[in-house]
Amino acid sequence: MDTGLQPGTCNVQQHLSRRSLLKGTVLTAGGMAVANWGALTHSQTIAAEAKRTGKRCIMLYMEGGASQSDTFDMKLGRPTAGPFRSIKTNVNGIEVCEYLPKIAKHADKLAIIRSMKTKSVDHGIGGYHMHTCYPSNEKFPHAEIGAMIAKYCDNPESDLPSFIKMGVLACSAGSGYLGPQYEPFSVATDGTLPSFANPNVPQDVQDRRGELLKFMEEQHAKEHRARPFASHREAELRTIRLMRARKAFDVADEWNKARERYGNTQFGRGCFTAVKLVEAGVPFVEIGQDGWDSHNDNFPVHKANMSVLDPAWASMLHDLQDRGLLQDTLVVWTSEFGRTPAINGQGGRDHFGRAWTVVLAGGGIKGGQTYGASNQDGFEVEDKPVDEGAYFATIYKTMGVDHRAVHYLGARPIWATPEGSKPIPELIG
């Protein structure tokens, strides 16, 4: 999908267009600056504009680094192989780990990139690089992928935040140069809201003082037209809307029926909530699964993690398809890096960026394929290396975001992906 944004688009213009939308609301609602205060419906202008996008992204982030050799790029019979066996999938010629039986049935939806070759091979720097597409040593406030997608795929009609993180600690870059409007809204791994999102005064007080605040804002807005005031009022509106819409995070009743399928885990519930949230219009949700950093006992650790991952991820893909959301919802499975093919003295595998695997599905990705290859023992990429730039550019392309969109921090230009980054056409259906 084309967002209509050209290379060279700067955030100021984007703000202007967003503002003009809001102005539309104000005018159609009767000329009062905050006439639409707290309302859940919006003008035709915004509804029409919102149809421009419609792409969503769910990112499953394996904190600590998931082993490619024990999941999607197994080296059976080689010295670097572990004890796990592989199983057939619903695609001829693609096999995955035996502990991913449910996801194996969705292989026709998956594009498995077996040739990731990345540079930042420790947790802090790797988490940063795989969230922002830039190395942290540039000491620049880069924006996370979630903020970028929030900016370009946000539905202004939605009462919900545009960038939601569930229990992810791997990167705290946030919205960086894109500004606080696109900061992540952080909730727990299972998708439940932080306490500060819940009103600390009763609803009648909330309403009563809200009316008085609305009155004061209207008084002030009569003469004060500068944008910061409008931005402040808009954020207040969004906050009240979020507090009213926070029921979207409350999936308790439905979860009772879904938890058998997703696995009765926090991560499973997070995945289920994410489906509900993208259905409600949230453009980006990231869910963290921690505990993959298996320097010791790699195999028990991975087996346990996959038992949590497999049903949740597979049920998510199933439900997205079932609800007609999969074609517009990209599901990413990734980490800060992979793990060494070599097995260390503690039965562990260490950090490894030279040849590892990520998986994309839905959202216009051409499924049922592997892309690139590591060599026979998995130490190097043998075919079609994919660096951070190509990986991000591919995601942005499928989301309809210009991967070379430029913004400015002060005088310095910064692009969504670095110079020379190109989307991988074979991955896009």
Binding site: F185, P199, V201, P228, Y408, L409
Partner: protein, 568 residues
């Protein structure tokens, strides 16, 4: 002919009050137009005839010329209430207290604004506020590896400089030589990286963005990689050592080695932005000679043949270098004829009070970036140097100008109108917000000065703008306002704070509401606002608990709205 005060005639008015003053013959059409706009404007009669009053007139003349050129309607003069709140926030970092508001409103003297400015410039809060502002310029919001107590000591050091009214070039000299106790934090943040040091020194003090020229010749400017590596050569030998200080504290010492060069492989010119660097395989990295930006190469004595750099132990400070490159850079940067220092400084100080620099962003002077009012920039630069880099003097001139005292209303929607045709709108910093909350809830100035933003407050209110200074409201900020305890806690009637005193007061509700508005928003409520708040606070039933709850809510509304959030 306009009457100019720089003629130094004893009977000439000290101020050119061309904004509303119908004395100037040749400009009658424009002034007539203005008179209709400016019915609320206050005319300032002739002030003292000190030579210092000249610059503010030049400012007004040039700003006014900018409006005429662009056919912009001149703004009205700010009301007393708007001016008062603005100047308190800008000079002392917090809103005025109820008592201070009343004192100003009750003063009918013709020079009350000028006198207030003098008073605030002598207030210790001015020094600490300047220190807070410069601390943020120098270190940013989240510098790596710096402890809060180290930062507090650095701010104190900065405040001392402003208290002594140390000339700006001297402050820069001290920061860059980093020999005074607690002055070292500026370097410490770079952890010995010559790239980071050079980039920051060029940007902060010289208003020049050189970092693009690290990897390729600058795309929008004349700078080449030779310029970048030439400047980096001055800082490549600098290192920062963390040593044990008094009371088990750690402190930083900035030292310099006698050897070490910036090296570069390949051709030092001609790489355009977007091209891969021109590197020859197996080429030897060549040392690059230090070179002053836009000037000559450094004339440097040869090292003695047998010189050996002393081997340093961990945390050992090196001896003084045989020849200090950094010293030469500092001499050059702070020389009276440095082509960048004063220009960058006046642009930044101007922007601190006027919202937008003549060059915007403030640290991006470049050859393809024409300043908005070039003549005025030049005048300020020259006057600043002629006044021995006197920061306080410059600030006094700026805030006494009609341009600074322009009204907060007008047709422009810009936060920072390009030609200053309306006062800028800027969010309060988290420090200003917290201090102001203490002031308006009646806890007093001392309490405000001691307040420190919590981690939550820094997180949710610490960085309210995007990279270009544009305010962006965020969900987290408002969730914090709504549901966090900081704002609500301060609004709750408690131990003789303002809400508590208002509840206990026997005054009528209208008087109480007036006091609330004067305390929080530095103004009298409109009659509509007064009625609304009286009925809100004076509701049924007459239960003290209900009354206290309502009082808290009304206070919360006043501190949560747009009017309180911004300095306008």
């Amino acid at each position: 002919m306009r009457i100019r005060s720089d003629s130094h005639q004893p009977d000439a008015p000290a101020r050119e009050s061309g904004f509303a003053h119908p004395r100037v013959g040749t400009r009658i059409p424009l002034l007539a137009l203005r008179a209709s706009v400016l019915c609320a404007a206050i005319y300032f009669p002739a002030g003292a005839m000190a030579a210092e009053t000249v610059l503010r007139d030049t400012i007004d003349r040039e700003v006014q010329a900018g409006w005429e050129k662009e056919k912009l309607a001149p703004p009205a003069h700010s009301t007393d209430a708007v001016f008062l709140r603005r100047v308190y926030l800008d000079l002392v970092g917090m809103v005025p207290s109820y008592e201070e508001v009343n004192a100003f409103f009750n003063d009918n003297g013709p020079k009350k604004r000028e006198l207030l400015i003098d008073k605030l410039l002598a207030d210790p809060r001015f020094f600490s506020n300047q220190a807070t502002a410069w601390d943020l310029v120098l270190l940013g919001r989240n510098p790596q590896g710096i402890l809060p107590q180290q930062r507090t000591a650095f701010r104190k050091w900065l405040a001392t400089q402003f208290e002594k009214n140390e000339p700006y070039d001297r402050i820069v000299h001290k920061l860059l030589t980093a020999e005074e106790e607690n002055s070292q934090l500026y370097y410490a943040q770079f952890r010995g990286s010559a790239d980071d040091t050079t980039t920051s020194v060029m940007r902060v003090f010289l208003g020049t963005q050189l970092q693009c020229a690290k990897c390729h010749d600058h795309p929008f400017d004349i700078w080449t990689q030779r310029d970048y590596y030439g400047m980096t050569g001055f800082f490549v030998r600098t290192l920062v050592v963390e040593v044990a200080g008094a009371n088990n504290d750690k402190k930083f010492v900035v030292g310099e080695k006698s050897t070490g060069d910036v090296t570069f492989t390949g051709s030092l010119s001609g790489t355009k932005a977007g091209e891969a660097p021109k590197k020859t395989p197996n080429a030897k990295a060549e040392p690059v000679k230090p070179k002053f930006l836009g000037g000559a190469e450094l004339d440097e004595p040869e090292l003695p043949q047998d010189f050996q750099e002393p081997k340093l132990k961990d945390k050992e400070v090196p001896p003084k270098p045989l020849f200090s490159r950094r010293e030469k850079a500092v001499e050059w940067i702070t020389a009276k004829d440095n082509p960048y220092l004063a220009k960058a400084a006046v642009n930044r100080i101007w922007a601190q009070f006027m919202g937008r620099g003549f060059v915007h962003p403030v640290d991006d002077f470049n050859s393809s970036h024409e300043p908005s009012l070039p003549e005025l920039l030049k005048t300020l630069e020259q006057a600043f140097v002629a006044h021995n880099y006197d920061v306080k003097w410059l600030i006094r001139e700026i805030v006494n100008s009609e341009a600074y005292q322009a009204a907060d209303v007008g047709p422009s929607e810009d936060a920072m109108p390009k030609l200053y045709e309306r006062a800028r709108v800027r969010p309060l910093s988290v420090e200003e917000l917290l201090a102001s909350l203490h002031v308006v809830t009646g806890l007093g100035v001392d309490s405000a000065l001691k307040s420190m933003p919590s981690k939550d407050m820094l997180q949710y209110l610490g960085q309210p703008t995007d990279g270009q200074g544009t305010f962006q409201g965020s969900l987290s900020e408002h969730l914090f306002l709504h549901n966090g305890d900081t704002f609500r806690g301060l609004c709750r009637p408690n131990k003789d704070n303002l809400p508590d005193r208002l509840l206990k007061s026997t005054a009528g509700w209208e008087a109480k509401v007036d006091q609330m508005f004067l305390s929080v928003l530095s103004r009298i409520p409109t009659s509509e606002e007064r009625d609304r708040f009286v009925s809100y606070l004076n509701g049924e039933p007459k239960d003290p608990k209900v009354a206290a709850q309502r009082m808290e809510e009304a206070m919360w509304v006043l501190v949560s709205g747009s009017e309180f959030r911004f300095n306008r």
